[in-house]
């Protein structure tokens, strides 16, 4: 062991150095190399509200440019950019959840808990996936966002509560209602298709 490590992404480091020296041709190369993957990532995470994807992608690149001096070359530039994108999408989730939380909260108890939702046995898997995408697209943005944030990102309810300025209990209630809405919409679509 030598006690030090050499950055593994030397070409990325060189590109970052050129960008820090205000080389606009290098900026163009950064966009050419990575805008597609960042856009795909953001677009998928925002579905069905993809109209905001372009704005968020632009924010990602502006943030990356501002923080380029901190890029160390330990991870690839693509990984680094995608981690910025992840934070930007989380910011969007946070904003989306802050606004509609109150309107989505009611005193009613959810009809279903996470454990009681068992659709696996009833449905063919391929149909299930297609319908799940459709179901998500029909949910209110707040519900879709909280389900993605919780189950896709694996964000804990405690962290979500902190990020949105709510109690953990309130977030759990909202999650329960989002699952409930997911289930109801899911069943409605099944009725319509039969």
């Amino acid at each position: 062991m030598t006690g030090y490590s050499v950055p593994v992404h030397a070409s990325d480091l060189q590109l970052a150095a050129s960008i820090c020296q205000r080389d606009r041709k290098a900026i163009a190369r950064l966009i050419e190399l990575h805008a597609d993957s960042v856009h795909r990532y953001v677009w998928r995470r925002l579905t069905p509200k993809t109209d905001l994807a372009d704005d968020i992608v632009q924010d990602v690149f502006v943030a990356a440019w501002r923080g380029m001096k901190t890029y160390s070359g330990d991870a690839s530039l693509q990984t680094w950019l995608l981690s910025i994108a992840r934070h930007k999408v989380e910011d969007y989730y946070r904003q989306t959840l802050k606004a509609p939380l109150e309107s989505l909260e009611t005193d009613q108890q959810p009809l279903f808990t996470a454990d009681s939702v068992d659709l696996d046995a009833a449905l063919d898997r391929s149909r299930q996936i297609g319908r799940a995408a459709k179901t998500l697209a029909h949910l209110p943005p707040g519900y879709a966002a909280i389900l993605r944030w919780r189950y896709w990102d694996g964000q804990s309810t405690r962290d979500m509560a902190t990020a949105t300025g709510r109690t953990e209990k309130a977030v759990e209630r909202l999650l329960a209602r989002a699952r409930d809405c997911f289930k109801t919409t899911w069943m409605k679509q099944e009725e319509e298709s039969t």
Partner: protein, 106 residues
């Protein structure tokens, strides 16, 4: 269960393979403006020495004796930039043009 459905749904949703060329062009223009606000841009002959390809206009600027002129952004006055920002896959064919590299041509 729910998490799996959502995960699969996300994976199966058809995201476009490419970001639009207009978006890329707008990002480039924004970032270059930010670069300029911070100070002089790297001079074009240095960019070329670092392996960057220059367009025909940039080549002309790069042979100018003044570093001050070389550090300007020639795209600011080029119609290719305007086209690229507003037209998807704009018909720009100059090799080395930073905006042309975002456009897909058959």
């Amino acid at each position: 269960m729910i998490d799996e459905i959502i995960r699969e749904a996300e994976l199966s949703s058809e995201a476009p393979k490419r970001a639009s060329s207009r978006l890329k062009s707008r990002i480039l223009s924004t970032l270059v403006s930010l670069q300029q606000a911070e100070g002089s841009l790297r001079i074009l002959s240095e960019s070329r020495d670092h392996g960057e390809q220059l367009c025909v206009f940039e080549h002309a600027v790069a042979i100018l004796p003044s570093e001050e002129l070389q550090s300007r952004n020639p795209c600011a006055v080029c119609h290719a930039r305007l086209l690229a920002e507003h037209v998807e896959n704009a018909p720009i064919y100059w090799p080395g043009c930073p905006y042309a590299r975002f456009c897909e041509h058959p």
